[in-house]
Amino acid sequence: MIDVINLEKQFGQNKVLNGISVTIEKGDIMVVIGPSGSGKSTFLRCLNCMEDPTGGQIIFNGENLADLSVDINIHRRHMGMVFQHFNLFSNKTVIENIMLAPVYVGCSDLKKIKRKNRSTKIKNLFSSSSQQELLPVPMTKAQITANAKKQAMELLDRIGLADKADVYPSTLSGGQKQRVAIVRSLAMNPDVILFDEPTSALDPEMVGEVLDLMKSLAKEGMTMVIVTHEMGFAKEVANKVLFMDEGRILESGAPDEFFGNPGNQRLKDFLSKVLS
């Protein structure tokens, strides 16, 4: 699904990613671990070009996203992203947060079709011989909004927050915010969701509810790339684990051998630190 080939990123003179190659298959739950500053966030943010790679390739749906001429917005609509600090839109209610992208994308596609049809009509006026067909208009703006609203309510139901649909994010607890942020990314029916330390900003008692939601996504076969320090979660849910240090992947594998029999000395040191 995503082929990362020799990915490099540098900020000025600071080389943060030194040639990362990895393949993410459909249905993979890939967990990325490593010490702070090792480039985990940068790696994740390069996958959807929130940071533009300075070298290498990211092949997603047959296109190289590292090529600056591709329309990255189209591809980002198929890649959800969940942030450490939730980043819910604070001027929008919970349900508006979830509906925003689907409604925006639906309406902008609608506008494109209408614009196309207008120019076809004008062309038809001037050529009596060949009349072109108009494109079908799939839905009105009201229908798009109604559909998005219905879907958003279903998503809120799923996380048990339907009663919070019309409140502003500032009134939610951290765990609730992050669960809303996760279903907000689901609203676009993404092919893959990228998580950057989704539980690191939470009070300990709220970590469980967020991890449970992520586990249920994993069960449904959602493809996920997750940067986290939750080793228990990695062992239980991941099918691939990567260990990053100084912008390189030092070890990767299935969780059993990865945690059970780590070969790399740095990984051993890291695990003994975080697991103690």
Binding site: N73, R76, N87, S90, A101, S170, T171, S185
Partner: protein
């Protein structure tokens, strides 16, 4: 004291019998038109300038636009409003061969002038919005401008609402110079009353009171607006 009550009598006489009140109404109307339309133009243009100044500057076009905007802001903040009015009325209009009334000129100059100040406020407001908001919007596949319009600018406006209110108040007060280009404002009205009653003490006092009342009303309006916009911050 008897002297003062005579002055009041004379003021009232001119105010009512010589149509002074009509002049005051017109002056008040022009003052409000100039300040309100000036503020609207200022907000629209100022927001545009502020956005241009916060756009990432990897490419050439944003850099050029940024320089133009910097120049614009420097120009309008570096000269007094009266000078801008005079230049617009007596230099720009003849050169461009345009005909405009004093009030129209004042509306544009007030708009252009406040755009320069509002762009600075708005830029600070935009920069005070958590960058995570832009990131989340972009990560969903929305472009820079849609996220700006739907998410960042509304939050920035909310952050700077008190300063925007102050800008409106200073626009109201600065309308007292538009008679330089022949626009009939409150000053013109009370000056008329003063000249016709040969007495300036009461007219100018009344003028001061009207300005103060205007400013108080606006301040109250801003407070109410802030409270209703504060919804998204309140826990309930």
């Amino acid at each position: 004291m008897g002297n003062f009550s005579q002055k009041i009598d004379r003021f009232i006489e001119v105010f009512i019998d010589y149509n002074g009140y009509l002049k005051v109404m017109e002056g008040l109307k022009n003052t409000l038109i100039i300040a309100v339309l000036g503020l609207v133009i200022g907000i629209l243009l100022g927001t545009l300038i502020a956005t241009v100044r916060v756009v990432p500057k990897y490419k050439r076009l944003p850099r050029i636009l940024n320089t133009v905007c910097n120049f614009y802001v420097g120009l309008f903040r570096g000269t007094p409003m009266v000078v801008q009015l005079l230049i617009f009325y007596y230099v720009m209009l003849p050169i461009l061969n345009l005909h405009m009334t004093g009030v129209q000129v004042a509306v544009f100059v007030f708009g252009f002038n406040s755009a320069a100040y509002i762009s600075e406020m708005m830029r600070a407001g935009i920069q005070s919005v958590d960058p995570g908001q832009m990131e989340a919007g972009r990560a969903m596949g929305l472009g820079f401008w849609p996220v700006m319009r739907k998410i960042v600018i509304p939050q920035a406006v909310k952050n700077i609402l008190p300063t925007l209110g102050n800008e409106f108040i200073s626009l109201i007060k600065e309308t007292s110079v538009v008679s330089f280009v022949g626009a009939a404002d409150l000053y013109t009205a009370f000056n008329y009353i003063g000249s016709n009653s040969y007495e300036f003490m009461v007219p100018y006092l009344v003028m001061a009171v009207i300005y103060i009342v205007l400013v108080l009303i606006i301040s109250l309006g801003i407070k109410l607006m802030e409270r209703s916009l504060g919804k998204s911050d309140r826990r309930h």
